[in-house]
Symmetry: C2
Subunit: 486 residues, 2 copies
C-alpha cells in the first residue's frame, strides 16, 4: 500500500474515537461549516465542474451545488432533532413477564471509518460532499472518499475545501480525506480499518465492489446504489385526457442530462393503439444534442443501445445520433409480447439518452410484463383518479418493483426530505432496507449498543436518567408522544 | 428441487402479497394466536424438547417456552404501537430550499419471503417459533423455517402447531412452513423467491451461508448471529470488594447450559495477583456435569479446548472431564502478555463449558489486549463506582467490541425488551446495524417505500392524510412528540 493511502486510512482510524465522542449538536456545526464553505466557493467550483463533466453551469450545476449544501444542513437538523439516535430506556422490572428485567438502555453509535465511492453523474450531490459523505459524517463516521475519475480536479478542490472547513470548525484531524484511483479504492475497501462502504454507479462496478466487501475476512456493510430501469405505466384514461403532455414530459425526463440519471424512465408502458407516435416523435426530436459525461459512459451507452435496438420486435421511433461528442435521444418501441419473449437485455438499464416504449393490450398483459421486470429505484403511474380500480390492481406489482412510486410525475427529480426513499430491491441497491437520499440515509452508518445495569454517571449522555440532551426516548415501552399526552 | 420444497417455496411466495396487505393489528392477532397455541401445548412440547436436546425441563425449557410466547406477544405490542412503520409525511412545499418539493410519504413494507435457519441451543426461543420467526411474521413476511437437526421432532411438532394456529386465525395459506436438511436449506437460500435470511449458530456455518446469500445473482440480506467471546473485565476495586462473589458468578455463567450460550463469558480479565484462584477452583469444581446438545457440538468443543489448552503460557486451573455423555467445566488461565503473543485461536469462541482467565498488570496492558480482541455480542465490566476514571478509560474499547455492555452482571441472560441489542460487529453478526433480539429485530425484515404525489384514495392507509390508523408520524419534519406539545 502506498504511504499516502496508508496515512489517510490511519488518520481516519484515529479520528473514529473523537468523532464518536462528539455530540450530535457539535457535528451539526461541522456540517454547517462545510455547507457554508462550499457555498462560498461556488464561483470557483461550478466552472471547474462544468469543464470536467460537460454539464451546464445553470441551472444544472448551480442547482446541484445548492442541493448539496442544503443536504449538509438538513443532516444538521437531523442531528439537532436527536430522534436518529433511537435512544430507548427500559428500567429494571422485577415483574417483566418473561422473568426479571435488568435496567437496559439502547442508543446508536457510529459504525466507524466509511469508504465512499463517488458517482460520475452528480459531481456535487453524489460526489465528494454528497449525500453519502453528509450522512456518514452526520453519523459520526470518518469518511475516506474515493474520487470519481470523471472529475478529479473538482474532487481534489472540493475535498480541500471540506477538510479546511472541518478543521476550522474543530473537527478531529483525519475525519475526511480524498483518495484517487481504482487500485487505492480497492485496497481501501479491503483494509480492516474500513467499517462500511457506499457506492453510486453501474451494476457491474457496484457488484464487483460489493463482492470484495462481503468477501473480506471481516465482511462489511456495502451500500451500493446500482442500476434501475424505472418503468412508467400510462393508463388508457391518462392517454385520453392528456396524451400529448405525457409524451412531452416523458421525452424531457428520459433525455434530461443526456439520460445520465439513475432515475431515468427507461420503459414507458402505453396502451396499444395509443395514437401518440407523432407527439412522441415531435417531443423527442425537439430535444437538443447533449454531451455525455465521459468516453467510457458514451461507448457503454452506444453498445447497450445497439443490443436493445437489435432485439426482435424492437422498432426505432426516433433514431438518435451523435457528432462524436454530443448525442440526440433515441426512442424505441416494442409490444409487451415481444418484450416478454426477448432476451433479458431489453429489460435492463441503458444509461444514456434512450428509452423504450412497450405497448400493452390489457391489464392482464401489463401485469404479466411488470412481474417479469427487475426491481429498481422507482415505478411511476400516469393515470386518472377515475381509474382507481385499475390502478389499485397495479400497485402491489409496482411496490414489489421499487423503492419510490410516483403518480402523474416523472422520476428524474429526487427531492431531499424526511420522507424520501432512494433505494429498492437489487439491483436498485445492494442493501434494500436502506436509502441513500433523504434523512434516513444516516441509518446506514449507525449500529446499536445496549447498556445493561450501568450507574448513571457511566452511561452515555443520551441514556442518562435526567436525559440531559432532552432526546425523544421510548421509556419502558412508552413512546415519547404518548408520554407527552399524559 | 424436491416437489415438497418447491411447494413450500411456492406457497411462501403466494402468501407474500396477502401478508403484505394485512394490517399490523391483524398480524398482532396472528402472533397472539401462535403464542396461545404454544402455551397450550407446553405439556407436550417440553418433554419432547428435553428428550432431543438433553436440556432440563425446569427451569430451563419451561422458562424458554415462556420467553418464546412472551416474545411473540411483545411483537404484537410492536404492531399495535405502529411506530415500527416509520410513517413519514412531507407535504408539497413550493418554498423548499433546494427547489419545490412534491408531496412525498414514506412507510416500511415487508421485504418478502424469509428463510430462517434455526439454532441448536435454544430449541424454542431461537428455533421454529423463536425471535427470527416472530419478527419476520410481525413484519408481514412469510417464513420458511429450516429446522435444526438437533431437535427434528420438536421442530416438526412446533411447526404444525404454528401452522394450525395461523390458519385458525385467518392468516394466508403458506405463511409459515418448516423444511429439513442442509441440502434443502441451501437450495432454498439460493431460490429467487427468498428475499432475506437469518441464522443463529457457528461462525463456520453462518459464514458459509452468508457467502451463498451474497453470491446469488440477486444477493439478499443475510442476518447471521455467529460467534462471540464475551470478554469480562474485573477491576482491582471489584476484586477487593467482592472477589469471591465474582468468582462464583463467573463459574455459574460460563458453565450455564454446559457453556452452550452465545453470550457465555469466554474470557475473564483479572488484575495480576488477584488471589482468587482458590475461590475460582472451588466455584468451578462445584458445577455439576451436564450433557452437551449433540455429538457434533461436543466433539467440536473437545477439539477447540485442546487447541486453547495447548497454547503457550496457558495453564489449567480446573481440568474438566467427561464420562462420554456429560461434561464438567474447564477453567484455564494465562497472562495478558502470553495471550497477546499466542496464536489467534486462544482469542476465539470455544462453544462449551470452558473459559480462560487472563491476568493483566495495569490499565495500559489491559487496553492493549482488549484492542486485539475480535468483536462480539457482549462486553462486561465488574467494577466499583469509585473507579469511574479507570472504567471510563475502558468504555470506548468495549463499545467498539460489542453490541451490549454490562455492568456488574453476567452476559448469559438476554432479556427481550424495547432496548435490547443482540448483535455486534462481525463475527458477532454479519449485519452489524441490526439486532436479533428485542423489538428492533423487526427492522431486519422491512424495506422503505416512498409514495410521491398520489391522491389520498390511492395511498396506503398508513400514509393517508386523515391518518386512519392513528400512527405516530413525522410530518413536514415535525416529529409526533413535538406535534403533541403544541
Amino acid at each position: 500500500m502506498g504511504t499516502s493511502l496508508d496515512s489517510v486510512l490511519a488518520a481516519a482510524a484515529s479520528a473514529a474515537a473523537p468523532a464518536a465522542a462528539s455530540t450530535p449538536t457539535v457535528r451539526a456545526g461541522w456540517l454547517d461549516a462545510v455547507a457554508d464553505a462550499l457555498d462560498a466557493a461556488a464561483a470557483e467550483l461550478i466552472p471547474l465542474a462544468a469543464a470536467e463533466t460537460h454539464l451546464p453551469e445553470a441551472p444544472r450545476l448551480k442547482g446541484e451545488l445548492a442541493r448539496t449544501t442544503f443536504q449538509l444542513r438538513l443532516f444538521g437538523d437531523v442531528l439537532r432533532d436527536g430522534a436518529f439516535l433511537g435512544a430507548t430506556v427500559d428500567h429494571a422490572d422485577p415483574e417483566w413477564p418473561m422473568g426479571p428485567r435488568p435496567d437496559i438502555r439502547r442508543v446508536l453509535v457510529p459504525i466507524g471509518p466509511t469508504l465512499v465511492f463517488a458517482a460520475s453523474n452528480f459531481p456535487f450531490a453524489f460526489s465528494v460532499a454528497g449525500g453519502d459523505t453528509a450522512s456518514a459524517l452526520a453519523a459520526g463516521c470518518p469518511v475516506v472518499l474515493k474520487a470519481h475519475p470523471g472529475h478529479e480536479e473538482l474532487s481534489t478542490r472540493t475535498g480541500a475545501i471540506v477538510r479546511e472547513a472541518l478543521a476550522a470548525a474543530g473537527a478531529p484531524a483525519g475525519l475526511f480525506d480524498v483518495i484517487h484511483g481504482v487500485e487505492d479504492g480497492v485496497t481501501a475497501l479491503k483494509d480492516p480499518r474500513i467499517a462500511a462502504a457506499s457506492f453510486t454507479g453501474s451494476v457491474a462496478g457496484g457488484r464487483a465492489l460489493f463482492d470484495i466487501a462481503v468477501s473480506r475476512p471481516t465482511p462489511i456493510p456495502f451500500y451500493g446504489e446500482l442500476g434501475s430501469v424505472n418503468p412508467v405505466v400510462v393508463t388508457p384514461g391518462a392517454v385520453a385526457a392528456r396524451g400529448p403532455a405525457i409524451a412531452k414530459g416523458y421525452a424531457g425526463s428520459f433525455s434530461l442530462g443526456a439520460g445520465q440519471f439513475c432515475t431515468k424512465p427507461g420503459l414507458l408502458f402505453l396502451p396499444a393503439g395509443h395514437g401518440l407516435d407523432e407527439d412522441l416523435r415531435a417531443a423527442v426530436t425537439a430535444a437538443a444534442a447533449q454531451p455525455m459525461l465521459n468516453d467510457r459512459i458514451s461507448s457503454g451507452f452506444t453498445q447497450r443501445l445497439d443490443e436493445v435496438r437489435g432485439a426482435p420486435g424492437v422498432e426505432v421511433l426516433v433514431a438518435g445520433g451523435t457528432d462524436g461528442s454530443t448525442f440526440t435521444p433515441t426512442l424505441l418501441a416494442t409490444t409487451a409480447k415481444a418484450f416478454a419473449e426477448a432476451d433479458a437485455t431489453v429489460r435492463e438499464e441503458c444509461f444514456g439518452p434512450a428509452s423504450l416504449i412497450v405497448t400493452y393490450t390489457d391489464q392482464a398483459e401489463l401485469l404479466d410484463v411488470l412481474d417479469g421486470l427487475e426491481p429498481g429505484l422507482t415505478a411511476t403511474v400516469h393515470g386518472e383518479e377515475s381509474e382507481a380500480e385499475l390502478v389499485r390492481g397495479l400497485l402491489p406489482s409496482l411496490t414489489r418493483l421499487a423503492g419510490r412510486l410516483l403518480w402523474n410525475d416523472w422520476p428524474t427529480g429526487v427531492t431531499v426530505s424526511w420522507a424520501q426513499q432512494h433505494g429498492g430491491p437489487y439491483p436498485a441497491t445492494t442493501a434494500p432496507t436502506t436509502t441513500s437520499v433523504g434523512t434516513a440515509a444516516i441509518e446506514r452508518f449507525l449500529r446499536p449498543v445496549a447498556w445493561q445495569g450501568f450507574p448513571d454517571a457511566l452511561l452515555p449522555d443520551a441514556l442518562q436518567e435526567a436525559n440531559p440532551w432532552q432526546l425523544p426516548r421510548r421509556t419502558d415501552g412508552v413512546p415519547p408522544w404518548a408520554r407527552n399526552r399524559e
